[in-house]
Symmetry: C2
Subunit: 478 residues, 2 copies
C-alpha cells in the first residue's frame, strides 16, 4: 500500500479547509466560473489564519479546482473534459506543502497574464530564439536517422566537445569524455545526489537556497543542513568548517556563482578553500553553475571544479538560463562518480533528447555565444539595477535589497512585520508573481523576504508591478 | 561520506579481477590499442569462472578502459583527451553488476558495427524519420518563443489532446487534463514508482521482466517480487492472487501488451481481473504499454486503464518504439496520483523538451499514424516470424522460441547447458549483441535464455547473425 493511509487521518489544517471547499465545488454549490469566497471570508468562516487560507487555495489550485484571475481573486475552474473528478486529490502526499507551493509557483510563472517575478526564468526576449530555432530546424532536416535515434549517455559528442571548450573559460580542463549530458540542471542535480548519497544522508546547502534544491533533497529522503550564506560571498566557510568538525556531512551543494536567491559570488580563494575543506574529509561537492555565464563584469569566475584534483567535485550546469529552457539541455562533469552518474542517467531518462543537444552544439560551434552573452549580461545588469532602485524607493522603510554581481535575481528583505506569503497572495490577485522567502529554507527563516526575478527586460509594465508590490507590502505595515 | 568505504573492502571477485587489469593498463603494461589477455587466459591466470571473467570485462568496459572490437575480443581504449585517469573507477557502486551489465548492453546496442539484437530498439528504417524531422523543423521555425521556453508539466496541451484520442482506441476515456508528458517511458516508470512507493516497499513484477524495470526498482530501494509469467498470457494471476493473500505488496508493474521479454499478451478478461484483484486491496497498478500500438493482428487490446474505476491504474507509454526514441517523448495517465506524479516530474527534469513534444503532436494530428503503424506492424511480424524460424533451425536441439502476438522481441530458451553470458560475450566478439537471460531476473533464473530484438528489418546480414549465434550456442553443447 502507498504511504497514504496514515497521513489521511492527520490532515493538516489547510487541507481540511481545502477539502471543505473542494466538496462545495464537487457538490455544485460553487460552480465553474464563479468567484470563490475571498481569503478573508475563508479565514472568518473557518477560524484559520491568513497563511492557512492561502495554503488551502494553493492546494485547491494544484488540484486543478480553482485558478487565480488577474486582480480578482480565485475562481472555480471548468472541469477537465470528460471527467468531473480529476485531477483528484493526491493520495500520496509526496512532499507536503513545500511541494505544493513549488508547483503553484511554477504555475504562476507560466500563466500568461502574470508579471513573472516568481520563477528564475529568463525573459523570452533575452534568449536567441530565432537563431536557435533555425539551428534546430536545420539539424532536424539534416540529421536523418541520427535525429530520431537514442543518443545514449554520455550524450552528443559534438555538444560535449563544445562544453569542454566553454569549461576552459572557467579554468577547468575537462575532456569531452568526462562530461555527461542531462535534461537540464534539474536532472543533473538529481543524478549527482543519487550518485553520491543514500536516503538519510546529510547534505550541506547554503541558506537561503533555491527551493528546487530543497525539493530534490526531500524527494530523495536526504536531510538538508543549512549553512548560512553571506549575501556577497556565498556560503560561510567558517561556519561550514566548524560544522564539519562536529557533524556528519555526506555531501555538499554550493552555487558559487550568483547563487539563488542571494546572487552571491564566492571569491576564487574561497572556492579553492571550499574544495580543500571537503577534500580533507572526502566529501563530494556538487557545484551548481547555472548562472556562471552571467557575470555583470567581464571576468568569469573560476569553477570549483578547476581546483578539484581528486575528482570529488561534480560540476552541474545547463543552457536554461542563457539559451533555451525548453530545450532541456544540461550537463554534469561527475569526476570520480562518472560511472554512477551515467548509470543513474540510464535509469532516470535513458537519454537526453538528441536534436536539442545538436542545436545547442551548433549554436556554440558557430561562435556567437560570447557575443550574445555580452549583450544579455548588460541587459540583466540594467534590469537588476533598476529593479533594485525601484524597490528601495517603493517598498516600506527598512527594506534592503541584495547587490548581485551577476545573474538576474534580487533578494529583498522587508521589515519583519511583512509576511511574504500574504504578499505573494495579494500580488497574485493583482497579476504579479513573486517567490516568497518561506520557500528558500525548511525552517521558518525568511518569512519577510521575497525573491524577485529580473529575467524580463525592464519596461514600464515591470516598473509598475514593482511599485504595486511596494504598495502591497506597505499595507501590511499598518 | 558516500556509501563507498565499506563496499571497497568487500569487492566481488569480478571487481578484483577488473582492478588488476585496470592496474596493468594504468601502469602502461597494457597500452592503448593493444589486445587485452583473452577471456580464457584471464580465467586461467586468476582461477575464476568464465562468467566472472566476462563480468570483469564488462566492468572494464563501463569504466571506459577497454572496448570490444568486431570478431577480435577486447582492446585497451585510448585514454580520454587531457587526462589519463578518467573516467575513473566508480567510488559509489550504484547498483552492482546488474547495473554494469545494463550499461554495457546499451553500449553494445549503439556501437555502430554491431548487429543489435540486444536492445529493444526499433530499427532506424522502421521509424518515420523524414516526416518527423520535417515536422520538428517546421515547429522549430514557427514556434518562436514558445519553442525555447519551458513547457512545464503537465506538458504540451496539443500533444495531450492527441494522446487522449489515441487512448480511446485502447478503450480508455482519458481527458487531456489527466495526462502528464515525460522524457520517455523510462522517466514515466520512475515517476510513477516515486509517486506510489517509498524505499523498502514491495513491487510485484512479471518474471522474466525487462531489466530496466528491475534497475529502476533497485535505484529506488524497492524490493521486486517476481510473479511467474506465462509466455502467451503474461503475469500468472492465479499466482498473484495467492501471493496477495499471504504477502505484502505495495505496488504492481505489468506489461500486459507484448511484454518484454516474453511478448505475452494478457487477454482482456485477465486485464479486468488484474485491475479488480489489485483494487480489492487498493494496490496501485503501473501499466507499461510501450508496445501496445504494435499488435500483429488488427485489434488493439484494451488497456488495463480502461477497466480502472478507482484511479489506481497509472498508465505509462512513449513514442520510443513507434516514432522516435531520440525525441524522448512519453506520457503518464496517473489517475488518483496525478498530483504526486506532477510534483515528481518537476523535481526530476522540470519539463519535457518542448519542440519534440510539438513535433510528435503534429505527427499525430496529421493523421498518418495508423497508416504508418500498419506497415511497421506487418514488418515486425515478418521479422519475428523469420527470426523464430531461423532460430529453431540453427540453434541447438531442444531450443524453444516464444510466439509473440505483437512487438518485436523474441525469448529464446536454449538447453540448460548453454550459458547466456558466455554466449553474449562470444557473440559480441563476433559483432553481435544479445540480451542474456540473466538480466531479466534478480535471481539466477534464465541463465540459458536470451532475448533477441527483431527491431531491424530482416536482411541477409541479420539472417547470418542468427546463424552465427546458433553455431556459438551449439559449441557450448560439446
Amino acid at each position: 500500500m502507498p504511504a497514504s493511509s496514515s497521513s489521511e487521518t492527520q490532515q493538516p489544517l489547510y487541507k481540511q479547509v481545502a477539502d471543505t471547499l473542494a466538496k462545495l465545488i464537487a457538490d455544485g454549490v460553487l460552480r465553474a466560473g464563479e468567484r470563490t469566497p475571498s481569503l478573508r471570508a475563508v479565514c472568518d468562516q473557518h477560524g484559520v489564519s491568513m497563511s492557512t487560507a492561502v495554503q488551502a487555495f494553493v492546494e485547491l489550485e494544484s488540484r486543478g479546482l480553482v485558478e487565480p484571475r488577474h486582480k480578482s481573486g480565485f475562481f472555480v475552474k471548468a472541469p477537465a473534459k470528460g471527467r468531473l473528478d480529476l485531477p483528484g486529490p493526491p493520495r500520496v502526499p509526496m512532499s507536503g506543502s513545500l511541494g505544493n507551493r513549488h508547483a503553484s509557483l511554477f504555475d504562476a510563472v507560466v500563466a500568461g497574464n502574470v508579471v513573472a517575478f516568481g520563477g528564475a526564468v529568463p525573459g523570452a526576449d533575452m534568449l536567441p530564439t530565432v537563431k536557435l530555432n533555425r539551428l534546430l530546424a536545420e539539424k532536424a532536416r539534416h540529421a536523418g536517422t541520427r535525429g530520431v535515434m537514442y543518443d545514449l549517455p554520455p550524450g552528443s559528442e559534438m555538444l560535449r566537445r563544445q562544453i569542454s571548450k566553454r569549461m576552459m573559460k572557467a579554468g577547468a580542463v575537462v575532456a569531452p569524455a568526462e562530461i555527461i549530458t542531462t535534461c537540464g540542471a534539474t536532472e543533473a542535480l538529481m543524478l549527482c545526489l543519487r550518485a553520491v548519497t543514500k536516503p538519510g544522508d546529510v547534505v550541506a546547502v547554503e541558506t537561503p537556497t533555491y527551493f528546487g534544491i530543497l525539493h530534490v533533497l526531500e524527494a530523495l529522503a536526504l536531510r538538508a543542513l543549512e549553512i548560512p550564506a553571506d549575501a556577497q560571498h556565498g556560503m560561510r566557510l567558517d561556519v561550514l568548517e566548524r560544522v564539519l568538525k562536529t557533524q556528519r556531512v555526506d555531501a555538499c551543494i554550493a552555487v558559487p556563482s550568483f547563487s539563488n536567491p542571494l546572487g552571491a559570488s564566492m571569491p576564487d580563494e574561497a572556492r579553492q578553500r571550499l574544495v580543500a575543506l571537503l577534500r580533507k574529509r572526502e566529501i563530494p561537492l556538487i557545484e551548481d553553475d547555472v548562472f556562471g555565464e552571467l557575470p555583470f563584469g567581464t571576468k568569469r569566475a573560476r569553477a570549483c571544479k578547476s581546483f578539484d584534483e581528486s575528482g570529488l567535485v561534480l560540476f552541474c550546469s545547463s543552457f536554461s538560463k542563457t539559451l533555451a529552457p525548453g530545450y532541456r539541455v544540461g550537463w554534469i562533469v561527475p569526476g570520480r562518480y562518472y560511472h554512477a552518474v551515467r548509470m543513474a542517467k540510464l535509469t532516470h531518462t535513458l537519454a537526453t533528447a538528441t536534436l536539442p543537444e545538436l542545436a545547442v552544439a551548433g549554436f556554440l560551434a558557430e561562435g556567437g555565444y560570447d557575443h550574445w552573452l555580452r549583450s544579455v549580461r548588460a541587459a540583466y545588469k540594467e534590469n537588476v539595477a533598476r529593479a533594485g532602485r525601484a524597490i528601495l524607493e517603493g517598498f516600506p522603510a527598512g527594506t534592503t535589497v541584495s547587490v548581485p554581481q551577476g545573474g538576474f535575481l534580487l533578494w529583498v528583505t522587508m521589515p519583519p512585520k511583512v509576511d511574504a506569503i500574504e504578499l505573494y497572495d495579494r500580488a497574485l490577485a493583482k497579476g504579479i508573481s513573486i517567490a516568497p522567502g518561506h520557500l528558500f529554507s525548511l525552517e521558518q527563516r525568511y518569512t519577510n523576504c521575497i525573491r524577485i526575478s529580473c529575467g524580463e527586460r525592464w519596461s514600464p509594465r515591470i516598473e509598475d508591478a514593482v511599485r504595486t508590490l511596494g504598495a502591497l507590502a506597505k499595507q501590511q505595515m499598518k
